[in-house]
Amino acid sequence: MRLEKCWFCSSTIYPGHGIQYVRNDAKIFRFCRSKCHKNFKMKRNPRKVKWTKAYRRLHAKDMTQDSTFEFERKRNRPERYDRNLAENTLKAIKKIDKVRVDREARHHALRMKGKKAKEQREATKELEQSIHMVKAPAVLQQEPSLTLPKIKVKVAHQQSEENHPMEE
């Protein structure tokens, strides 16, 4: 059993999923689901399709180079079964996955950084320009600050609630 990668979206294909297409030059294209298969038949280039890993890596939305990727390289030589080796490998897989996920999260945070100042500036500008949308000019004359007026809403006072169990 081997976990393959989808040719189109690069997600893992588990056994029993997806279709393999063998071209006449014996190149095998594996697809994880019919969405990827149909996109392939439409001759779409995965590097141009926004939701694929190929696009994201190409446009630096996701991590491209990392030492954790080295562990996932394809190995063609089967290893002789050794219980200790198998046990250690399973533990290592867990740890490496955790490290990789942490690094990806850090990469994402780094990518999204630097927006707070911009958002703040945009918010203040919007408040200055459009204050008339939420605060009447008359109130603005009395209170020329940019704080929004407090609104009091009257709520109908409810009688003490009686517990009505399901009556028949």
């Binding site: 056994p15 029993g16 999923h17 279709i19 393999q20 297409y21 063998v22 006449n24 014996a26 095998i28």
Partner: protein
């Protein structure tokens, strides 16, 4: 899903280029043939100066289909064309070379010679 009137490519060097299926061997009312089934076919197009000629009726075994082949382990394989290998009454291929990928199912069906000649068994 090969049925009578289906044109198939020939995946060996027996001399035929294109076959048209006439009949499926196996059961009297069988509708479709899949990978590993033997069919009776007529040669529609042949390479000149070879033992096989156009309009000859021969037997062939299907090695590739565009219709997906489902395996017991859940794998589904689809090829790019419909292809067959010309065989004789015993099941030995008439040609000496086989082209293209061949499905592994042929080994279970005792077409060992074809599988051994294949450049790629998938």
């Amino acid at each position: 899903m090969i049925q009578p009137q289906t044109h198939l490519n020939v995946a060996d060097n027996s001399g035929a280029r294109e076959l048209m299926c006439i009949r499926i061997i196996g059961a009297s009312n069988r509708r479709y043939a899949h990978i590993g089934d033997v069919i009776v076919a007529v040669i529609k197009e042949a390479v000149p100066n070879m033992p096989l000629e156009k309009s000859e009726v021969i037997r062939a075994v299907i090695v590739r289909t565009c219709k997906e082949l489902k395996r017991d382990n859940g794998m589904i394989i689809r090829y790019d064309d419909n292809a067959a290998v010309v065989i004789d009454q015993e099941g030995n291929p008439k040609g000496t070379r086989v082209f293209g990928a061949i499905a592994r199912e042929l080994r279970q069906l005792n077409f060992i010679k074809i599988v051994s000649l294949a450049p790629e068994v998938l």
